[in-house]
């Protein structure tokens, strides 16, 4: 198992613009204007990845807007307030044992039409 610190290092290396933030005991990674899979509208959103257990999900990806043009998803969180911004999230469970980078890609796949 790769240590959390190593996972953070790997994630920040892959996404140099990512910012690591905390609030209320949760860790977050903020990424600005990421490109969503083709077909999604809008094409770009900012995202907040929470790589730890939250509301029964092993990790959660919050988007700055709701997305259409992707497979129909269950948007269980709308306008949830985190770090002074409003976020949207679908019900999407990730497997255990993933690194932060793998979690992020797994969440993004939920919006892929392929």
């Amino acid at each position: 198992m790769v240590s959390f610190e190593k996972q953070v290092e790997e994630f920040l290396l892959a996404f140099p613009g990512a910012k690591q933030l905390t609030e209320g005991g949760y860790q977050y990674f903020y990424l600005e204007n990421i490109v969503l899979p083709s077909g999604c509208s809008p094409e770009k959103v900012s995202v907040l990845l929470c790589p730890q257990m939250r509301e029964g999900y092993k990790s959660r990806l919050f988007l700055s807007q709701m997305v259409t043009g992707c497979p129909v998803r269950n948007w269980t969180m709308k306008n949830v307030r985190i770090l002074e911004s409003n976020w949207f999230s679908i019900s999407w469970q990730t497997n255990t044992g993933l690194t932060i980078k793998e979690m992020y890609y797994t969440h993004l796949k939920a919006f892929s039409n392929e």
């Binding site: 905390t22 209320g24 903020y30 939250r54």
Partner: protein, 440 residues
């Protein structure tokens, strides 16, 4: 001119006061720098959150008896550099040790200190800088507002602790003696004036919130931020104070019911918020002096506490539940939590935890209303108002405010929680240094 408010945690104030009180080898007074993060709200109101302090180092003082404290330029450069690097406001801070009430800047202060603020304005641009002056019990401040191109007194200072110490430097409180508040004059000679100045936020205007609003209006609160996106339903009429059959039949919002209650007692009242979720008008939350949460869900409690902590707003949370095990007597229970910025939060208390948040998420979308009754809502709301009045007026003169009350509805009792003695001093989830706007 926009309202300018300074908020500072009591613990930080105490730290600064204790530091400035220390005798120095040759300087007759000490100096430090307090750092802040500022938010400008949609209406131009300015909220300055004081969240760090650094004293001037021993070696930075210069032996010059002509002034209370002379120090080298390096300490100023360091402080302003820190403000610039961390995007914080920089406030020169000193103490008038003999002053007991609201301290006034001396002519020497006003002659010698402004150049420090001017340097900060030039170097750490985009922040609001100024001067802080402490007395034995409170503080005063001058701020430089870039848009106004001048110094000005702040309008309100809130020292946020178990007691909310409020002062209004630009327009000090005056004695008010309206006949309608005669019977509550024991709350303090300025209590009437304070109630008429502060803004109280209430999230959730149903069974609990309707009692809260009614009592706030009777107390003399004139500024509100109220939030509920729901309309009056027939099933609300067993407990929604002020709600009528007319409201149900005409789809009147709970917000409008609350507004009507307030306006029936005050010809002039400022009411922000609306028939919306609080998350959609957070400026109306951030300008509040105190929040009261009357919420059904744990995750919204968590999010409201996070927002309130960010802007140093105490929050009183009330909640009740009724368990109905099959073939057994129903059990009514509830709680009142007082969450003070800098002190243990609802997560520290394990009132909010992953297990319960997970269970709540699993119930997402379940149909059916939970049982609720008017009297237990009223008891919890009345106690929340009692807590609010105590922290604003300190009429009980008790510095150890009760932060958690538990209600046992089957025994008609409400008492201090036995868990309070286990609560930590301080909070690791919401450090004071993380207050103010988020820098993404």
């Amino acid at each position: 001119m926009s309202k300018v408010t300074i908020r500072i945690p009591q613990k930080l104030y105490d730290t600064i006061y204790a530091d400035l009180l220390r005798p120095h080898e040759f300087a007759s007074e000490r100096v430090g720098f307090t750092f802040s993060n500022t938010k400008i709200l949609d209406n131009g109101e300015i909220i300055i959150c004081m969240n760090e302090y650094t004293p001037i180092g021993e070696g930075n003082y210069i032996n010059d008896r002509s002034v209370g404290a002379m120090f080298d330029s390096l300490s100023i450069t360091d402080a302003i550099g820190y403000g610039r690097k961390n995007r914080k406001g920089v406030f020169h801070t000193h103490l008038h040790e003999l002053s007991t009430g609201n301290p006034e800047f001396s002519s020497t202060d006003l002659e010698h200190l402004p150049p420090i603020v001017e340097s900060a304005n030039r170097i750490a641009k985009g922040q609001i800088h100024g001067l802080l002056l402490l007395s034995q019990s409170t503080l005063n401040a001058l701020v430089w507002i870039p848009e106004e191109d001048s110094y000005r007194k702040v309008d309100q200072i809130s020292i946020v602790g178990a007691t909310l110490k409020l002062s209004f430097p630009s327009n000090p409180l005056k004695l008010q003696k309206l006949e309608r508040y005669n019977r509550q004059s024991f709350l303090g000679k300025y209590s009437e004036a304070i109630f008429s100045r502060i803004r109280v936020g209430v999230v959730g205007l149903g069974g609990g919130g309707s009692h809260i609003v009614q009592q706030l209006a009777h107390l003399g609160i004139k500024h509100y931020a109220l939030f509920d996106d729901d309309v009056v339903d027939e099933s609300n009429l067993n407990r929604l104070v002020g709600g009528t059959i007319f409201d149900f039949e005409n789809g009147v919002s709970k917000f409008d019911v609350a507004k009507r209650t307030i306006e029936s007692l005050h010809k002039v009242a400022s009411i922000r918020g609306g028939k919306i979720k609080w998350e959609l008008d957070t400026d109306a939350v951030d300008c509040c002096d105190i929040m009261i949460g009357c919420l059904d869900t744990l995750h919204v409690r968590r999010d409201l506490e996070a927002e309130s902590r960010r802007y140093m707003i105490p929050i009183i949370d009330i909640g009740m539940g009724i368990d109905r095990p099959k073939n057994e007597v129903a059990s009514i229970y509830g709680q009142v939590h007082l969450s003070i910025p800098g002190e243990c939060c609802l997560i520290c208390r394990d009132f909010l935890n992953q297990d319960d948040l997970t269970k709540e998420a699993e119930r997402y979308g379940e149909e059916g209303g939970r049982p609720q009754v008017v009297w237990s809502n009223g008891i919890l709301a009345s106690n929340a108002i009692g807590v609010l009045v105590d922290i604003i007026t300190n009429w009980t003169m008790n510095d150890n405010k009760l932060q958690h009350l538990t209600y046992e509805g089957n025994y008609h009792t409400i008492k201090p929680s036995i868990f309070m003695k286990t609560y930590s001093d301080g909070c690791e989830h919401y450090p004071i240094t993380s207050t103010g706007p988020v820098e993404f």
